[in-house]
C-alpha cells in the first residue's frame, strides 16, 4: 500500500457567488493526486465543519471573496476543534488584506493565498502541512 491519499474539503463559506477560484484549486489538487470533496457555494461554517467531519479530511480549503473572512474563518476553526478535528489544516484563498493575515495565522490558518498564487505552491504547502500533522 502506497502512502494514504490526502483528502481535502474545498468550500465557499458566505454569500459571494464566485466559485471559479475554488474550482481551479479543486482541479489543481485533483491533478496533484489528492481526493477533493467539493461542496459548492454558500456554505455556513456549521455545514463546512459537518462535512469535514463526515469526510474525515486532512485539510480544509476556504475561498472567501466577500470580506467576511474575519467572521467566518474563526468560526470554522472553532467548530473543527469542537468536533475533535484538531489536526485538520485550514487554508484560505481569495481577497484577504495583508493586515488581517497575522491574526488569521495566529488562529491557526496554515496558509493564505491571494489572486495569482501559483497552484504548485499551494499543493506543496498542503502536502507538507498534512505530513507534519500526521
Amino acid at each position: 500500500m502506497s502512502e494514504n491519499k490526502i483528502r481535502v474539503l474545498v468550500a465557499k463559506p458566505g454569500l459571494d457567488g464566485h466559485d471559479r477560484g475554488a474550482k481551479v484549486i479543486a482541479r489543481a489538487l485533483r491533478d496533484a493526486g489528492m481526493e477533493v470533496i467539493y461542496t459548492g457555494l454558500r456554505q455556513t461554517p456549521e455545514m463546512i465543519a459537518e462535512a469535514a467531519l463526515q469526510e474525515d479530511v486532512d485539510a480544509v480549503g476556504l475561498s472567501i471573496l466577500s470580506g467576511a473572512h474575519m467572521a467566518l474563518v474563526p468560526r470554522v476553526i472553532d467548530l473543527l476543534r469542537k468536533n475533535g478535528q484538531d489536526k485538520v489544516r485550514v487554508f484560505l484563498g481569495g481577497i484577504i488584506p495583508d493586515e488581517d493575515a497575522p491574526k488569521l495565522q495566529e488562529l491557526g490558518v496554515a496558509g493564505i493565498y491571494g489572486p495569482g498564487s501559483p497552484t504548485q505552491k499551494i499543493i506543496e504547502d498542503i502536502r507538507n502541512s498534512v505530513r507534519q500533522a500526521a
Binding site: 500500500m1 494514504n4 491519499k5 483528502r7 479543486a26 482541479r27 489538487l29 485533483r30 491533478d31 496533484a32 493526486g33 489528492m34 481526493e35 477533493v36 470533496i37 467539493y38 461542496t39 459548492g40 456554505q43 455556513t44 456549521e46 455545514m47 459537518e50 462535512a51 467531519l53 463526515q54 469526510e55 474525515d56 468536533n83 475533535g84 478535528q85
Partner: protein
C-alpha cells in the same frame, strides 16, 4: 478507545475515521470490520445508478429528506449516503462533488454522508464500498443509499451490493434498442424517469415499458462457487405471482416531484423481497461475492509474498524468448511459490 466500540456508541468522528481506515485497507480497519460484522445485516441497501448528469445525487438528496421526514406517518429512519465518484486514471486524484446536491441534509444528526473515489475499480463502485456500507450498517443507519459513478452499460456491481437497485433515466438518452441491450437497465428493481418535466418523457417511458414487456420475469444472475447462474434455480419453487416487475416512476428531483411515490416503490420492493425470500437470497449472493473477491485478493497477496524474484525474472525471460506460453509461465510461477 477502541474504534469499533466508539462506532457502536454513536461517535460520529470515530465512524468517519473508521471509514478512512477501511478505504485505506489498514490493519485497524480490517480488525474493526471483523468486530462489527455481527452487528450488520439490518440496513436496507438501496443502490442508485445511471448515466452522468441524470440527477442521481439530487434524487438521493430528496429520498434522504423523505425518509427523515416521512409524510405517511411512518417513523423517521437513520439515513446514510455513500457517494462514489471516479478517480483519475492518470493522476490518482479525484473531485468528489456529490455533496453539492445534498446541502439540505446538512445539520441533521440522523444523516451521514460520505464521498469516496473509485481508486481504480471499474464496476461503478470502489473496492472498499462494501466495507464502508457494513460499517454504516453496524453504526445503526437503517437506510443506506449507495450512489455509483455516472454509469454506462457495464457498471453493474451495484446490483450485487444493494437489496434494491434504482436505475435513473432521463428523456432523450436513447431509443428502444438501447433499452433492450444487456447491462444497466436489466439490473433495475425500480426504473426512475427523472427530469420528467422535459420534452420526450412519453417516448422515454414507452421505450422502458416496451423493454419490460419484452422481458421475461425477473431472473437474477447470482454468483455461486465462482460461477454465474440465474437465481431461477434457487427460486424455482416460487410461483409466477411472486415475480417482481420493475415499476417506472417519474420524478423531477430538483423540485421534489414524484418522491413520495418513488419512496413507496422502494418500500414495496423491500416487502416483496421479505415475502418471497429474495432478501436472504440477495444477502447470500452479496456475501458470497464479497468472500470471492477477498479470496482472490488474499491469494494474490500471499502468492506475491512467496514468489521468488529470480524465478519470476527467469520465467519472464523464457516467456519473451517464446520458450514458454503465458499459460505455461503461470503454471511455472505457481509451482515456484508452492515450494
Amino acid at each position: 478507545m477502541d474504534l469499533s466500540q466508539s462506532v457502536l456508541q454513536g461517535d460520529r468522528l470515530a465512524l468517519a475515521r473508521l471509514l478512512t481506515e477501511i478505504e485505506n485497507d489498514s490493519a485497524a480497519g480490517q480488525q474493526a470490520l471483523n468486530e462489527l460484522f455481527k452487528h450488520t445485516g439490518k440496513a436496507h441497501l438501496v443502490g442508485i445508478t445511471g448515466a452522468p448528469g441524470t440527477g442521481k445525487s439530487s434524487l438521493v438528496n430528496q429520498l434522504a429528506l423523505h425518509f427523515r421526514k416521512p409524510n405517511d406517518g411512518k417513523p423517521a429512519r437513520w439515513v446514510a449516503v455513500v457517494a462514489v465518484d471516479p478517480t483519475s486514471p492518470f493522476t490518482g486524484g479525484a473531485v468528489l462533488g456529490d455533496r453539492v446536491r445534498m446541502r439540505e441534509l446538512s445539520g441533521d444528526d440522523g444523516v451521514f454522508i460520505r464521498s469516496m473515489a473509485t481508486r481504480g475499480s471499474l464496476g461503478g463502485l470502489a473496492a472498499a464500498t462494501a466495507g464502508l456500507v457494513q460499517a454504516l450498517d453496524a453504526a445503526g443507519y437503517e437506510m443506506i443509499f449507495i450512489e455509483t459513478v455516472g454509469a454506462g452499460q457495464t457498471e453493474v456491481d451495484i446490483a450485487k451490493l444493494a437489496h434494491t437497485t434504482l436505475v435513473v433515466n432521463v428523456p432523450g438518452l436513447g431509443d428502444d434498442v438501447q433499452a433492450i441491450k444487456a447491462g444497466i437497465l436489466e439490473i433495475a428493481d425500480i426504473l426512475v424517469l427523472n427530469k420528467a418535466d422535459r420534452p420526450g418523457v412519453e417516448a422515454a417511458e414507452r421505450a422502458l415499458l416496451g423493454m419490460l414487456k419484452l422481458g421475461h420475469p425477473t431472473k437474477r444472475a447470482v454468483f455461486h462457487h465462482g460461477q454465474t447462474m440465474t437465481a431461477e434455480v434457487a427460486e424455482a419453487k416460487l410461483s409466477a405471482s411472486d415475480d417482481w416487475i420493475p415499476p417506472i416512476r417519474r420524478t423531477v428531483a430538483t423540485e421534489g416531484k414524484g418522491i413520495p411515490e418513488l419512496a413507496e416503490a422502494i418500500a414495496g420492493h423491500r416487502l416483496h423481497l421479505e415475502k418471497t425470500g429474495g432478501w436472504k437470497l440477495r444477502d447470500r449472493a452479496r456475501l458470497e461475492s464479497e468472500v470471492e473477491n477477498l479470496l482472490e485478493q488474499t491469494l494474490m497477496t500471499r502468492w506475491r509474498e512467496k514468489v521468488n524474484g529470480k524465478k519470476y525474472d527467469s520465467v519472464l525471460q523464457e516467456l519473451l524468448e517464446r520458450k514458454l506460453s503465458p499459460r505455461q509461465a503461470v503454471i511455472g510461477l505457481l509451482d515456484g511459490a508452492m515450494q
